[in-house]
């Protein structure tokens, strides 16, 4: 078990190094950012000064060393666009994105799993069929289109919910939260539904097909033959066996949610890192782009580690395998 964790940590570190290398390569090989910052009539000495302050003219090994050392300390240099420290820009906006992603993920799980269980238990009921058809449409609709539709219905026509922004936020130390104010809660509804809908359909379809498969197994038949109640058979024996794939996909999707937040944040003008990343792409603001990449890479690696750990909690067979392969 410990050997397994260590091995996974080493793998995670390697992936992070690879991501950091790609980030650094972006710094190195992507052309002159100064042209993006300055106007055409900027004096030449001002340009030189700017280049110096941004550290662009230093030799490559120096820049590489600086990149690694700074990255470990959380310093990612200055934005080409705003000349602010990138680390702080990201830290300021991270709470907004994480809150949005978390609410979206919870929405997807809390709605998706029961819907999937229902569709798996009663595959022929009209409700299941309706859910499956609607979910196929949901998979085909691009995220931004869902956002626009929701805005049109709930903000423009009905006027119930705001169409942009985070509402009022409260500072809790370094964390600014919108979850403690009424306007903040109202503001997060549409974006989190937009962001979570695709994941919801995915989880629902996955749970359904896993449920159908598990319900056909001998141990479910045997559990019924022992006279266990429906609830024990469906939610004790069947659901737990569907969890392993659900954990995998949900874990992977959590990363995807944070990335898809780029789109949702743009549609709803949500002040998170996704919106920041989009602006950096438009302005070719390489420091922000590469920092975002490192951050996303880190989130993915952490999620993957957590998913691996969860397997051990759920599936005793893996625990045994981990033990035997660990002892080798």
């Amino acid at each position: 078990m410990i050997a397994f964790i260590v091995r996974r940590l080493v793998q995670a570190a390697l992936v992070m190094l690879a991501v950091a290398f790609v980030s650094f390569a972006m710094f190195n090989f992507v052309g002159d950012p100064v042209a993006n910052i300055v106007g055409q009539d900027t004096p030449a000495d001002q340009i030189v000064e700017l280049r110096k302050s941004l550290g662009i003219d230093d030799p490559m090994p120096v820049r590489f060393g600086r990149f690694v050392v700074n990255a470990v300390q959380g310093k990612f240099g200055l934005s080409y666009r705003t000349t602010e420290p990138v680390g702080r820009m990201i830290a300021d906006r991270l709470p907004a994105t994480l809150e949005l992603s978390l609410v979206a993920a919870i929405f997807a799980l809390v709605a998706g799993i029961p819907m999937g269980v229902f569709a798996g238990l009663y595959p022929n009921s009209w409700l299941s069929r309706t859910m499956m058809t609607v979910s196929l449409i949901g998979v085909s609709l691009p995220t931004f289109l869902i956002g626009i539709l929701l805005i049109y219905i709930f903000a423009v026509i009905l006027g119930w919910l705001p169409s942009f922004g985070r509402g009022d936020t409260i500072k809790l130390g370094f964390w600014s939260t919108g979850l403690l104010t009424v306007s903040g809660l109202k503001a997060i509804i549409l974006p989190s539904i937009t962001l979570g809908l695709f994941q919801l359909t995915l989880i629902m379809r996955l749970v359904r097909s896993e449920m159908l498969e598990v319900l056909r197994t001998d141990y479910i038949k045997f559990a019924r033959a022992r006279g266990l109640s429906n609830r024990a058979v469906h939610f004790g024996h069947a659901l737990k066996n569907t969890l392993v794939p659900v954990i995998t996909i949900t874990g992977l999707q959590l990363g995807a949610i944070i990335a898809f937040a780029i789109i949702t944040e743009t549609v709803f003008s949500w002040p998170g890192v996704g919106l920041l990343f989009l602006q950096s792409v438009v302005y070719a603001d390489i420091p922000v782009m590469s920092t975002y990449l490192v951050m996303i890479g880190f989130v993915f690696v952490v999620i993957n580690l957590i998913v691996d750990m969860l397997y051990f909690v759920v599936d005793p067979r893996l625990r045994a395998q981990g033990r035997t392969s660990g002892s080798k």
């Binding site: 197994t217 033959a225 022992r226 006279g227 024996h237 067979r317």
Partner: protein, 327 residues
């Protein structure tokens, strides 16, 4: 028969509606099991043996359904009970053992928890009492250091040990009847005899009746009190095991007996029945066995025989009809 009837199946018919018409998997089957008795049910794959067992315990896989006939447990009709009432009978009155012990146990739960869950579903015991009973059951089925093994997961048991756990689970609430569907087929040959003996011993101790479904005539000969031979969804012959084996009346039973290697008859060739059992969608008119029967005559091809007395047994064959119709 002196002992009271525990289970009575009358004219059971199981159908599978499919897109290309309805298949009759079990057709007009009647049988009885007395308390504590072991009834063997033999036949080839698809003869309807497992289907009969599934119908009795109320676990036919949809779209399969009981089309007609009735099933009575101690005189009470159970084939038309609502789901939640039938659930209380399963495990408590009728237990079941399936073919493959490797897949019969939920891999994610400790065997002890699966036992305790089953015990507490049916018996008013506290968790501690149920746990004691679970340990006792595991000891009964011959699992060494049961108190410790109770915390193990199914994958930590060998195939034979798992089938012992399955038997313990089936016996957990002291059912009066166990339906054992090919309980040894998936096991190593060397373990098969042990498991059959264990099952027989436990059922005798607890006074549990068994419906033993198998395609192994040898197992039946060793274990069963009575035997029902099934062919193409119907009962070909049913009677005390010694009578059926020594004096088979139905040509199909005769053929089956010819296919068993007998000890001490090395020189004798094993015989084999020509052809194969018809598919459910192509059961011939008259006696289902007629195309393969060495003694077929005209009546077999037009009229279907019902089981009729033949010695101590009943056989569904025109050869044993009291007034032979053939001229």
């Amino acid at each position: 028969m002196t002992s009271p009837k525990l289970l009575e199946v009358k004219n059971l018919r199981v159908e599978f509606p499919t897109r290309r018409g309805t298949l009759v998997a079990v057709d007009d089957v009647s049988l009885e099991i007395a308390a504590g008795e072991v009834l063997g049910v033999v036949g080839e794959s698809g003869a309807g043996k497992s289907m009969t067992g599934a119908a009795i315990i109320g676990l036919l896989e949809p779209p399969g359904r009981i089309a007609s006939g009735e099933i009575r447990l101690e005189g009470r009709r159970i084939d038309n009970l609502p789901y939640h009432e039938m659930r209380r009978i399963r495990g408590r009155q009728i237990g079941a053992i399936f073919q493959d012990p490797l897949t019969s146990l939920n891999p994610l739960y400790k065997v002890g928890d699966q036992l305790i869950e089953t015990i507490q579903t049916h018996l008013p015991l506290t968790h501690a009492q149920a746990r004691d009973r679970a340990v006792k059951l595991l000891e009964d089925v011959g699992i060494p250091s049961a108190a410790e093994r109770i915390t193990h997961y199914p994958h930590q048991f060998s195939g034979g040990m798992r089938q012992r756990v399955v038997i313990a689970l089936a016996l957990a609430a002291e059912p009066k009847l166990i339906i054992a569907d090919e309980p040894t087929t998936a096991l190593d040959v060397s373990i098969q005899a042990q498991i059959i003996q264990l099952l027989r011993r436990l059922c005798r101790e607890h006074g549990t009746a068994v419906m033993l479904v198998t395609h192994d005539m040898g197992v039946i000969a060793e274990t069963a009190d009575r035997v029902a031979v099934m062919y193409a969804g119907r009962i070909a012959e049913i009677g005390p095991v010694q009578d059926v084996i020594k004096r088979p009346h139905h040509p199909y039973t005769v053929g089956l007996m010819g296919a068993i290697p007998a000890m001490g008859h090395k020189a004798e060739r094993l015989t084999q029945i020509d052809g194969s059992m018809p598919r459910l969608n192509a059961i011939p008119k008259g006696c289902a066995f007629n195309p393969r029967c060495p003694k077929v005559f005209d009546r077999c091809r037009v009229e279907r025989p019902d089981p009729m007395p033949a010695g101590n047994s009943n056989a569904a064959c025109w050869l044993v009809a009291k007034e032979p119709a053939h001229v």
